[in-house]
Amino acid sequence: MSRTLALWRSLPLTSRLGFTIVAALILLALFGPLLAPYDPIERVTTPFAPPSSAHLLGADDVGHDLLSVLILGARPSLLVALLAAVAATCVGMLVGISAGYLRGAVDTVLMRIVDVVLALPVVPLTLVVGVLAGPGLFTQTLVISIALWAPMARELRAQVLSVRERDHIHALRAMGAGHGYMLTRHIVPAVGTLVVPQLVLAVKSAVMLEATLAFLGLGDVSSMSWGMMLSIANERSAFLTDAWLWWVVPPGALIGLTVLGFALAGGAVERTAAGRTVRPTRRRKPAPASAASTALAQTAPEAPLLEVDQLTVRYGDGEAATGGCTGVDLVLPRGRVLGLVGESGSGKSTVAAALVGLMAPAAQVAEGGIRMDGTDLLVLGPRERRGLLGSRIGLVPQEAQSALNPVHRAGDQIAEAVLTHQDLTREQARARAQELLDLVGLPAHAFRSYPHQLSGGQRQRVVIATALANDPDLLVADEPTSGLDVLVQQDILDLLSSLRERLGLTMVIVTHDLPVIAHIADDIAVMQAGFVVEQGETLRVLASPDDPYTQRLVGSLPDMAEFEEVR
């Protein structure tokens, strides 16, 4: 019992709401005959009687008590939907599991059939079948399940395919387990739990279809479902009289409530919301850096371009806060290149994100400051921060090869960055973009290319050109060589080196790859588990690392010749 309760509590509010609605409707369907105050097929009052204490919802054109009709309508409405949904689920399971488990020709044929059925217009098809079979419970169940089995088969096939790929299934097959054993002991139970939400969502669609069919005259005339009530109300033009309030509104609202209840219970919300979960946080402005350190920054004659002071970033709120980085201190004088090294999860990308001001919504600066030319970046508002980004601070983001928008031309994406920060005409911005392409070593015709027409290295160059569009003081490159093959990596590193020489750039290069840094970084900061464990001049760090972790990193350098060369 307590486990059930715990399960209930773990459900999202929307699902709980859905289950409550569904439970209430099922109770209504079960106990309707006990609850209904009158016999729904007896004339108990005057036609079109308005609501009164004796007849809460008044009467229809014959004098039936509408509240009783409504309560007793729950049973036929739900019964047809449940029957049809169960039938459709059985067929869908059979087809989906056969296709997904047997694969090969069976899969091809079955899925081709499913595709065709999905392409046919549902309501006209069900009407063609329905008219021939004649109105009634059986017809409704038949045509609704015809309409619903195909999407379910497709969904279940996908799930079977993914279950098949699980390790223990592979192992069992390798041990020679038979088909029957595999299916009954492993595949069906695994897929079975996934069928339940499918079934619930099928009931949702079936309720709607039942109402539609009943409205169009294919309902079961012997039982008055909500769809039938509306059909009759429509025939008698109830909506043109005052009777619409108690004759038309309640059954439709109940159909809507039923559909919504099943949709929520089926986890429609969770299914569509699946993917990345974003924790709600409000960005807090951190306490400004202490007055003393600010004063120091202003009085020093050769102030460094960038100073990071005891930066601590956490993901999430309060007690649950995790990850990020802790107490990071960095100093970067103008014209120098800092390499930020660490394995994934060491906090190096968090630092880079904090530098440029593009942290994940869940992350927040718990303490510390980032100063650029003496200005504390963390106290700036979003608008001022954006003003710096792309103009004074350029970013070459991670996965730069897929960082270009696939639907815009490369040149336009560079020109966009120019136009955002400079008061230029479109033509001038294009000329500038052309210039930048030349600067990063791309041919002029790359301007009109779409990203998919460029190679990985070329796209990386376009991204670098974008970052340089407004002559930034600081360039932050997050893993600039990841995902590129070795020769291209070298080209990109050479490009960054030469750009640094020509433009006098100050750079922060984030990488997990120590050799990358050895070539162009003046200083190195090594991060581990959110802390900077060692920092100093590259030569010094490589030659005599103090920290054990750095020693391991340096010791694992694959190419000692390169290291010698640097020394």
Partner: protein
């Protein structure tokens, strides 16, 4: 979800297959149904005598081998002969073609309206979620689900009750008799179209909301959104020029698939508003069991869905340069 770069030949094959299945179903269903298929074709009052049935069987060739009947069925179809409507006593093709323009206007405008409204709200919803305001997103989602749960005919009846019967702003019907094609005539037809169109949009934009929200959520996680932000672009520009523009691609590929449900929506909406389109013809045919007419309407609806898919196939390259330029790779 469809693959964007799929070549056109298998796609045409798929459409041909769908069409063939629809035609064959039309042929097979009355012959598989219990009872004499000739009974279905009977137009007169009361039960037909055995002689009448035999005569009908002769006319429709029901006594010949099935394959011969099937061949004849196709030949008639290719000549545009869908048989005789038992209710209208006219060729089915004539009845359908007469009503087709009405439905095209309603379904076409409804589709455009539903796509625009659904996409904008869906994209906004995903955007708020990404911006760390998931409660706004979830509230919108539940609201749209609730609207999507209302039966289309019920929405139509409520609109009539409120805006026609109570307020008297719009007519409750849209009869075939139109004023002359003057400016006043156009205004009047707009007034008549308003409520059916609103019903179509209200009951079908939820599908596009879901599509847009899912697509936008995926796109917002892409690295190019981060690059767009790294340029210092205003959030609005990031949202529209980069996120929404790219999110349109999967929305477009799935929009045509959802078009089939719009045809179905038209059946109930046209019935409620007595709108003289195909949907009303279908509903009337159900009421009087006019089977040939229903068959023809089913075939036409299938053709409509296929046409919508082909239209999207043709327009898709305008949206996605990767498809447009797949043949002209630049030298590396």
């Amino acid at each position: 979800m469809r693959q964007a770069g799929r070549s056109w030949l298998p796609r045409l094959g798929q459409y041909a297959l769908v069409l063939w299945v629809a035609v064959t179903l039309n042929f097979a269903i009355p012959r598989l149904a219990p009872g004499n298929p000739a009974l279905i074709m009977h137009t007169g009052e009361g039960d037909p005598t055995p002689e009448e049935l035999a005569e009908l069987g002769e006319i429709y060739g029901l006594n010949e081998p099935v394959l011969v009947q099937y061949g004849r069925f196709w030949l008639d179809l290719l000549r545009g002969d869908l048989g005789l409507s038992t209710d209208h006593n006219r060729p089915v093709t004539d009845v359908l073609l007469e009503r087709l323009p009405w439905s095209l206007v309603l379904v076409g405008l409804g589709l455009i309206g539903a796509i625009i409204i659904g996409t904008l709200i869906g994209a906004w919803s995903a955007w708020r979620r990404e911006a760390g305001r998931p409660s706004q997103d979830k509230g919108t989602l539940v609201g749209v689900l609730a609207i999507d749960s209302m039966p289309g005919f019920w929405v139509g009846m409520l609109l009539i009750a409120v805006f026609s019967a109570q307020l008297g702003w719009f007519p409750s019907y849209a009869s075939a008799q139109m004023p002359e094609g003057t400016l006043a005539g156009i205004a009047e037809s707009g007034r008549r179209l308003a409520m059916p169109l609103a019903t179509m949009i209200i009951t079908s934009f939820g599908t596009y909301y879901m599509l847009a929200r899912a697509s936008m959520t995926t796109v917002l996680g892409e690295p190019f959104i981060r690059l767009a932000r790294a340029k210092g672009l205003p959030e609005r520009t990031v949202a529209i020029r980069h996120a929404l523009r790219t999110a349109l691609l999967p929305i477009a590929t799935n929009a045509a698939i959802a078009a089939g449900s719009l045809v179905s929506g038209a059946v109930v909406v046209e019935t409620v508003f007595s709108y003289p389109g195909l949907g009303k013809v279908i509903a009337d045919a159900v009421a009087v069991r006019d089977y040939p007419l229903l068959q023809g309407a089913f075939l036409l609806a299938t053709l409509g869905v296929i046409a919508a898919n082909i239209l999207v196939d043709l327009l898709y390259p305008l949206l996605d340069p990767r498809v447009r330029h797949s043949r002209e790779e630049l030298p590396v």
